[in-house]
Amino acid sequence: MLEITDLTVAYGGVVALDGVSVTVAEGTITTVIGANGAGKTTLVRTISGLLKPLRGSVRVGGTDLTGRAPEAIARLGVAHVPEGHGIISEITVDENLRLGGLWRRDRADKQLAIEEAYELFPPLLTRRHLRAASLSGGERQMLSIGRALASRPHVLLLDEPSLGLHAAVLVQIMDRLRTLTRERRLAVLLIEQNARSALSVADDAVVLSLGRVVARDRAARLAGDDALRHAYLGF
């Protein structure tokens, strides 16, 4: 579903991603793990069009996304949940949710998608008419993921969803993510610094270090590779 080939990105001469290739199949989660500065966020920002690559391509279901504007990429079914939740705190919870998939024509299904988001994350329902600024960290993450899902995406990009969350909330959200991925045939790219949690939920894993892919395998197998864990993941 999501095919990243030989992606190379530089910030003013400094190479942040160097020939990275990752493929995510429908209905599966691939996690990209690695230390700070490994290029994880650069990778998702390039996929969603916020950064332009020097070389390489991003394809979704055969459509080439490379060089398109972020708003066009979003409309092609790539939902990006940015680092730090990415909610708009000045508007209400409900308005934030309605922004998910606002371009879609099917009004009835848009309404249904929003109701599904409330069912998925009930804490949002009681706060629906409050400003998003009033939400806790976990609720913000629910809102951000709920909003991404409300756009009925094919590809879901999650950048550090564990950041600032209590372990219990994180486990809950990851559980739901796993079920949803299967049910809705999503291709999920999960960026994480918290490798332990990411490896427990993902099917496949890619380890980035200084902009290069240094290892890739089934997530379960990577989690069991002691040498690799010590070298790159720090646990």
Binding site: P70, A74, G86, I91, L99, S151
Partner: protein, 292 residues
């Protein structure tokens, strides 16, 4: 008492016009984080367009609509053609650009329409109403001004709160990058915002011109008063801008009436300086500024 009533009615009527200018400034401030110093000059220009239409046989109301439409196109055009190329640069670049536009429009207007002071028609009588023998100190035109502004404010509120375009515009203003990731065409929303702001400006120009006459820099003071009102309200809040502008209108009317009309502009300046010194965040506990 009589003087006080006259000054109060005057102050409220003018305040409503300043409020429209203040709202236009707030709208652009929220979307682009710049103050559009050409807001007044753009309004002057569209008032000339209206007068040009009227002198060529067009009715007042059609000319009114033409001026608002022209304002929208000029505003959206300015954003697309002039502001967008410098958008990613420091905000000061855009501010200087709007100053340049102000000078350009004030030079262009006399070339196209003549530089002399012209009177501008009002659609209703500007003489005070009387009931029996009691004078009311309110003219039908005053009522029209206040009514038109109130109607516009309600329409704007409904537009921003109740329509999806309004939601998109707010998202684009508060979180441009997040909005783009959600498929909002932020560039279009900015152009739309500038267009709407210039439409509001055009309306203010039309409503104030019968009282202040029409000449190439007739809106300079009005811009300063509107800006003072917007700053009074915290620059970020539409409600604050309206209340601030009404206070400015009333304050200036009293200063002009009791202390001499020469002091009116000075009064505006003094209010602005006082607010900036005592409460730079505005009278309303404005929200902290968003980080970029």
């Amino acid at each position: 008492m009589r003087t006080f009533l006259i000054l109060t009615v005057d102050g409220v009527t003018n305040g409503f016009v300043y409020a429209v200018v203040a709202l236009a400034l707030v709208m652009i401030w929220r979307a682009t984080r710049v103050v559009n110093y050409a807001q007044g000059a753009m309004a002057m220009f569209t008032t000339y367009i209206a007068l040009f239409a009227i002198t060529h046989g067009v009715t007042y109301w059609l000319a009114f609509v033409i001026a608002l439409g022209a304002g929208f196109l000029i505003g959206a055009g300015v954003e697309r053609v002039l502001v967008r190329p410098v958008e990613s640069r420091p905000p000061l670049n855009v501010v200087i650009l709007t100053l340049g536009l102000l000078i350009f429009l004030e030079a262009l207007a006399p070339m196209l329409f003549g530089g002399q002071v012209k009177s501008f028609p009002a659609p209703f009588s500007r003489n005070d109403l009387t009931i029996g023998t009691t004078q009311l100190y309110v003219s039908p035109f005053d009522i029209f001004v206040v009514g038109a502004v109130l109607l516009t404010m309600v329409a704007l509120l409904l537009f921003f709160q109740r329509t999806t375009i309004g939601l998109r515009m707010r998202a684009a203003a508060f979180g441009p990058e997040i909005a783009r990731l959600l498929g909002v065409r932020v560039g279009r929303m900015l152009a739309l915002g500038w267009g709407l702001a210039a439409l509001l400006g055009a309306m203010a120009g039309l409503l104030i011109a019968p009282a202040i006459f029409l000449y190439p820099n007739n809106m300079d003071e009005i811009l300063v008063f509107g800006f003072t009102g917007a700053v009074l309200g915290g620059l970020d809040s539409p409600v604050g801008a309206v209340v601030g502008a009404l206070l400015v209108g009333l304050g200036l009317s009293y200063v002009g009436g009791y202390a001499g009309s020469d002091l009116e502009t000075m009064g505006g300046l003094i209010i602005l300086i006082a607010v900036l010194m005592v409460r730079p965040q505005g009278l309303f506990a404005a929200r902290r500024q968003r980080e970029a």
